[in-house]
Symmetry: D2
Subunit: 316 residues, 4 copies
């Protein structure tokens, strides 16, 4: 029976290609994010999918070489950096629970004295950025974040889309509200403009699916960089980052993502999702249309199909 | 290196015993639930831990043969039953997202037209019970739930603690509020008294850690009953029940449980927790003292230790 | 100038008749309450207006002799009774602030430990009814409320519409939710069924505009019954009941009513409003169509016109 | 009896003096506002009370000539100005209902699309300021507000306490949050910094009780300036401003103020309250200690005593 099962084992490259082909044909793509003017210009028909397996093999299909704005996917990497710098002290200013509200809600902050519920909603990621910034100039902090991503993806060409950063800086009133609100409770240590400046810029980092899937590998391998074998984070910390991605990585659609896809993942309003199959693969998908929770609509469906075909659920 | 790793593999029985010994000594046990008068009488120093491995071996320590009120742990089994009866129609009356609020909160219901966020908060479990009840007499529905548990645990001695059921029936005003509130939105099909009668009684089922760990085995084995090899639920459904336990199984402490323990689990205010290590083990722990989120304080700590020592996280 | 002003003084009878004529012609009548099935049967074109002046003269027009369900207007009289029995002890279980939410909201109760914000939202009126009930049988308490209204209106024919009471008893799940919720916080002293039984019945009292305007006279005269000269309540208490009517008498439309009409008033979902011009007149209006806040749409417009034409604002 | 009543008519000057004497002796003064550092420096034992009667007579006692920061009392005057400029268009961006929440709550804004509930909570007053600012430079708008107050009070010496304005500008993060939040919904037309600059400065206007009572006279006289006889606002508008003061003038203590004092009033966290007895008197009181709702504790008690002794309730 084991042999039979092996015989039926699907070929990853074929699966990835089939999914990309199917997704490119689907008409129900959701709406491209419009609240940041610059993001609204993206081509809604784009679709890319890259899987980097545990052994380093890469399966890629679709628009895999087109850089897109990673937006909130960057929060996985800033969380990793901030935990490396502050350790468990980070949890003084941000919680670890799903929020039960939209990504930019301010209601929860009022109820809970300005402490955001988790590092993956906007308020929480702003608090994490504030921790990274402490003791540095904004420019230095941003440089550190960017170099960390270049290092993880083994690609020094990764950069920031300044037009997107400027667009959000001009129009991100909701984030100004969140940051000032936390500041009023003493949760932020740095000037609001500094913290938000770094935040807007790291959200505006542009990456391809290829680069993003590479950057996620350390979460597949219990915190080790598979290229060098060096530890990026301790194994326990890697597990915990995965846990947070599972419970909080898709805003108020996190339960649905866990239910359907069964893998830790983090989405961004640019339409990207990074998903991790622990011990098996790092996956990046990109489709700009969003569902009502602000997550990539086809991205989630592609991941659901991929996980089912490959048998990659963490739940059995 | 693999051999070395195997050599260091901890012995399950020793681990279980050590944990039970340590937990019995800890003074910081949390508070026993007092809102149901009958529950307040339980011995706060009780502690039991049972692990049923994938191969059927059992490791048990502490008060493993003492029946306790499983309370909300029963929601895993009523959800399984209801999905078997109603299939995905169940999701018309209950969602799949973490709630971001305490177990008995009514606020979310007002915002979301009487649809509870998930099947594991009280309101959601009442809606699930209502689905099981449809077309039956309360007595029949309750019998079905009880027989399902007896079947899963292979133990026909499992019964209901009528004193606890009566105590909750007399004093469960908050649940009467939740049920009537949902009824006002048309979410419940049956008379409130019928639905709550069944709900209070299935929460009052008394089980030992031994019985509870046995009953959870189908979630370890992708929905199959390991004793008979028969399917209890489809593999995909078993995974999804595990996913819901992970994101929603500990009320507003679900994120923390995922972060620290890294396994799907469901707690009850009686102090019990059922946790699942997919493919590896079904685990039941019982310690009556609760933390501020209403979950067993030492139960969670014991599971965190067990998972770390055995390397059982689903996150890598 | 004073003479001129007097010469221009409008004739009350003409004003009342003109308003009723205009209101009968208006097509924009709002929606008749449908959440109590029995109330939905009422004729939406009905309109009645009665003013009882300080000197006892009566100006009436329209359907003034048709009894309608006074619903929440009864809360003015139960508050008066409860204050007479419990005095300021009543305020242990109910507040005095506008609610900022719809009439049947339960959210505020969760935030404030089961204490309703004021006696004129449903939860608050249930708490007031509970106070009246204490130490009595439901039948006695209800009899006391009914006799109080008969006494104030000088009309022993006032009775309860049993069909409406039974309709609400069968379908008033939201009120069952509110009452059980308060009970869970220990705010209600009596069994929920008893308190709600009395509550549903006093809301189902049927009165004509004529009777209602008569019953409100003591609030015009600083608490004195103008017929007998006897004190119904102390002057200070009469002022305070008027104050509560102004700030809380129209649910989440109370600010709008104060802004537009400028008189204390209390509305009911049966379409009735009792308004008080202190020292000048007691006014009852009835038009069954409601606005989005649950207040009589034409009733409010009629009162706005009446107050403006007669110069009866309390605000100058 | 009327004669007797007249004979018993209390002498205003004596009443005012007695109240001031009593208030100066009371130890229970509440807490001075500390959230604006500069305000925390004020002498907590200060107390002033000034009544300007309808005939122009002035009764004053205590620290009547000491300027204090009027803070939110300024909102009465900015509302008056904005209504003069925008008329009923103002109500597109601000409501007229009590908020049911603290003065600086942001929760309501999320539920209601960034539209503040009324012009007297912070968010509402910021929206009103934004309306005054439209088409002007901040400096011009501020000059207009200041001149309006100087005109009403007949005192050109009224000015702005720049230290208070600067203190709030540096630390008013909560107000920055509110303004950015409204801006994200498109409720504010001007740059957030401009609108808040004007807002912080008009809140920092310093006035004596004497000046404040003079400035309130137009609300006693149906909108007319009693000195010149000229109309400041139309009678209906004056009534409506009084109505808003009554229902919303004391944040989440507005119901209590209406219940106890029975007069329209507006408080500020500087400890000042302006109260209006329509047709009778304009009253300013100042005592820096605040109650838990953020209103002057002794100020409210003084007004309650004054209104009771003078028989000045608007409720009968």
């Amino acid at each position: 029976m084991k042999l039979a099962s092996k015989a039926a084992m699907p070929d990853l490259e074929t699966v990835v290609k089939d999914i990309a082909d199917e997704m490119r044909r689907r008409p129900d793509r959701g709406e491209v994010a419009s609240y940041i003017p610059e993001l609204a210009r993206v081509d809604p028909s784009a679709f890319g999918l890259v899987v980097v397996g545990a052994d380093g093999t890469v399966a890629a299909s679709g628009d895999c070489e087109t850089p897109f704005s990673i937006q909130s996917v960057s929060k996985v990497f800033t969380l990793t950096l901030a935990l490396g710098k502050a350790g468990d002290r980070l949890w003084r200013k941000v919680g670890r629970e799903p929020s039960g509200s939209p990504f930019n809600s301010i209601v929860q902050l009022e109820r809970e004295c300005g402490i955001p519920r988790n590092p993956f909603i906007n308020a929480g990621a702003i608090a994490v950025t504030d921790e990274i910034l402490s003791g540095h100039e904004p420019r230095e902090a941003l440089g550190e974040i960017l170099r960390f991503l270049q290092f993880l993806a083994e690609d020094s060409s990764i950069g920031i889309d300044e037009a997107v950063a400027a667009s959000e800086q001009r129009t991100g009133f909701r984030n100004f509200a969140l940051a000032n609100y936390m500041k009023s409770f003493g949760v932020l240590d740095n000037p609001v403009d500094f913290t938000l400046g770094v935040y807007f810029h790291h959200c505006a980092i542009a990456m391809t699916c290829q680069q993003l899937a590479m950057a996620g590998r350390f979460l597949v391998h219990l915190g080790r960089d598979p290229a060098t074998g060096h530890s990026v984070v301790q194994p326990e910390r890697a597990r915990r980052i995965n846990a947070l991605m599972l419970t909080c990585g898709h805003y108020d659609g996190s339960g649905e993502f866990a239910y359907r896809v069964g893998l830790p993942g983090k989405s961004g309003v640019g339409g990207g999702i990074l998903a991790i199959a622990p011990g098996k693969a790092s996956i990046a998908v990109w489709s700009p249309g969003l569902d009502t929770s602000g997550n990539s609509r086809l991205g989630r469906i592609a991941l659901e199909t991929l996980a089912r075909k490959m048998g990659w659920s963490i739940f059995g």
